[in-house]
Symmetry: C2
C-alpha cells in the first residue's frame, strides 16, 4: 500500500462525513419545525416526485412572491416610499417652489402624515417628481446610490439587508427543486430590479411590478434612450396581480406567497389552477424582532385575505413562532444565492 493510498483511507471517512452533512443540511434552517414548514416541504416533495400523483413538470413549476412584507420588510413605510422622500429632499434645492406647495412642503418639514393627507393626487405628484423626467439609466444609478447609502431608521442597516432569511432559503430551496421564481409586487418594477438579482437571485425579467410610462427617443448625443414619463401605466396590486401574471408570465403559478389583502387575487388565481397548489401568507406577529400588524394597518393590511386563508386552509406563517431567524444575521453572508 503506497502512502497516497493510506492518505486516501484516512481522508475517506472525513469526506464521507462532510458529504452526508451537506446532503442532510436543512435547506430551510431558519424555519422552525411546524405545520407551516411541513406544508412547504410536503408540497415540494409531492410535485417533484416523478411518477407520483401530483408530479408537475419543471417548466410548469412557477412560483410567485409578493415583495413588500413578503420578501423584505415594509415598515414604518414602504421602502420605495422612503426612497421617494429622500429623493424629494435631494431635489429640493432645484425646486424652490416646493416650499410653498403640497405635498412637498410637508415632506421637507418632516410631516409625512400631512403630506399623505393630500391623497392620490399627492402620491402621483411625488412619483412624478422622483421617478420621472429622467432616463431609465439615470433612474437605475439613482436607485443604486440610495440602496447603497440609505439606512433603515429602526435597524440602522441598508434597506436591502432587511430581507427575510427564511424567505431567501425558501427561494433557493424552490429553485434547487426546479422552480422558476418570480416577484409579483405593487412596487415599481425598475426600482425592484436594482436589487432583486443581488439579494434574491431573481433576474430582471422575472420581476413584475407597477410601472410608469416610458418613451423611446434619440437623445442629444445621437444615442437612443428611454425616458421615464410622469404617468402611471400599470398597478400590479390586487386584481392587477393576476392580470400581471397573465401578461408577463403567461401561465398560472402553482405556488404563491403574499402577506396582505393586495395579494388575495394572486392567491385566488393560483389556487384556481388544476392539480397541487401551495398558497402562503405571512402574518406579521413579531413586534420584538420585526413588527406586528394586520387588519388595521395602513401598510400591508391583512384582513380579507386572512379570513379566506383560514377558511380555505392556506398556509399562514406566524412570524413569531415559525421563524427562528428573521433578518440575515450577517449581511455579508445572508443575501441569498444571487449576491
Amino acid at each position: 500500500m503506497r502512502a497516497g493510498n493510506i492518505g486516501q483511507l484516512i481522508a475517506l471517512p472525513i469526506l464521507s462525513q462532510l458529504f452526508t452533512s451537506a446532503v442532510t443540511a436543512d435547506p430551510l434552517a431558519s424555519w422552525n419545525t411546524s405545520v407551516s414548514k411541513e406544508a412547504i416541504t410536503r408540497f415540494v416533495e409531492a410535485v417533484t416526485t416523478q411518477g407520483g400523483p401530483e408530479f408537475v413538470s419543471p417548466d410548469e413549476r412557477i412560483a410567485v412572491f409578493d415583495n413588500d412584507g413578503t420578501l423584505w420588510a415594509e415598515q414604518p413605510v414602504y421602502f420605495q416610499f422612503a426612497f421617494a422622500l429622500d429623493r424629494v429632499a435631494a431635489l429640493a434645492p432645484h425646486h424652490p417652489d416646493w416650499e410653498k406647495s403640497e405635498p412637498f412642503r410637508s415632506i421637507l418639514n418632516g410631516d409625512i402624515k400631512t403630506a399623505l393627507a393630500t391623497g392620490e393626487k399627492g402620491i402621483v405628484a411625488i412619483v412624478a417628481a422622483t421617478h420621472a423626467g429622467i432616463t431609465t439609466d439615470q433612474f437605475a444609478s439613482i436607485a443604486d446610490g440610495w440602496l447603497g447609502a440609505a439606512q433603515h431608521p429602526r435597524f440602522n442597516r441598508p434597506y436591502a439587508e432587511l430581507v427575510y432569511q427564511p424567505m431567501l432559503e425558501l427561494l433557493a430551496y424552490l429553485r434547487a427543486n426546479g422552480f422558476k421564481t418570480f416577484i409579483v409586487s405593487g412596487g415599481g418594477v425598475e426600482f425592484m430590479r436594482r436589487f432583486a438579482g443581488r439579494v434574491y437571485g431573481i433576474p430582471p425579467e422575472q420581476v413584475i411590478g407597477s410601472s410608469g410610462g416610458v418613451r423611446f427617443e434619440i437623445g442629444a448625443d445621437g444615442q437612443p434612450q428611454l425616458v421615464k414619463e410622469p404617468k402611471v401605466e400599470f398597478v400590479d396590486d390586487g386584481q392587477g396581480k393576476p392580470v400581471g401574471i397573465n401578461r408577463f408570465i403567461g401561465r398560472q403559478p402553482i405556488f404563491a406567497f403574499g402577506n396582505s389583502d393586495g395579494d388575495l387575487e394572486m392567491l385566488q388565481y393560483t389556487a384556481a389552477g388544476k392539480g397541487a397548489r401551495f398558497l402562503g401568507l405571512i402574518h406579521h406577529t413579531d413586534s420584538d424582532r420585526e413588527w406586528a400588524y394586520d387588519r388595521a394597518s395602513h401598510v400591508g393590511k391583512l384582513d380579507k385575505a386572512l379570513d379566506e386563508a383560514t377558511a380555505r386552509g392556506w398556509t399562514v406563517i406566524d412570524m413569531k413562532t415559525d421563524w427562528n431567524t428573521v433578518f440575515p444575521l450577517n449581511a455579508q453572508d445572508g443575501q441569498g444565492e444571487g449576491k
Copy 2:
C-alpha cells in the same frame, strides 16, 4: 486481456468517430457559407470566449427576435390576421347584423381589401370581435384549434410549419451557447404563446407582444377568471419594442434580429449598448421559395431599416443566397427543440 477489454478496444474508434462527428456537425446547416453566417458565428464565439476581450457573462446573453417575417412567414397577410378572418366567419352565424356592417360585411364576402379600407377603426372592430369578450382560457383553446386545423393558402400546410428552418437552428445554436432567447413582436402575445414553446422552444414568459386589456373577475362558477377586453393596451411595434424590452426584460439585449421598419428602434436600442452587439435583418428576396418584398410592401415594409443597416454595417440576410433551406422539409422533424 479479457474479452471485455477486446470489445472496448474495438468500440473505441467507433465511439471516437461518433463523438468527432457530433462535435463537428454544423449547428447552422441550413445557412450557406457566407458573410452573414460568418458574422453570426464570429459574434457568438467572441462573446462566449472566457477571458476574451468581448466576453459576455451568460446572464447578459439576451437575444431578441421579431416574429412575423423573422421567425415565420407573414404573407399574403399576417397569420394572426388570417386567424381573425377565419374567426369572423366562424362567429358570423351569431351576428346576423354583420351582413350589413363593415368591416364584417366585406370580410364575409371575401373582399379583404375593402374591409381593410375601413382603416384603424375597422381593425379595432375586428380585434374586438375576435380577440375579446372571452376568457384567456377560452381564447387559448380557440387559437389552438385554429393552429391545428387551418392551412396556409399557398403552401397548404398548417401556419406553424411555415417557420424558417435556419432561424430554428439559430435559436437552438444561441441557447446552446448560453443565450436566453426572447420574441419581441407586434403580434398578440396570447396568440404567439400558443405555439412559441412547441415550435421555437421559447416559453410563454419569454414571449413579448402586443396586448389588450384583461379583467380579473370571479366567474359564475365561483372560480377566478381573466376576461379579454375590447381595448388595445400595448402595441409592441416600432418605438414600442424598446419600451417592451425595458418593461418585460429589464436589460438591453446584445443580439437582435428583425425584418422590417417596425424593428428599427429595437435594433437601434440593442446597438446602443456597450460591448459587442449583433444586429440582423432578414431581407425577403426569394419569390420562388418564399416571397420577395421590401420598400413597397404593405406587410413587413423594409425601407428605413434597410438603409440604416447598410450605413451601419449590420448583417442583412439575403434569403435567396444565404439560406439553403427555408421551411422545415419535414414538419415532424423540423419544429425546433421546443416541439
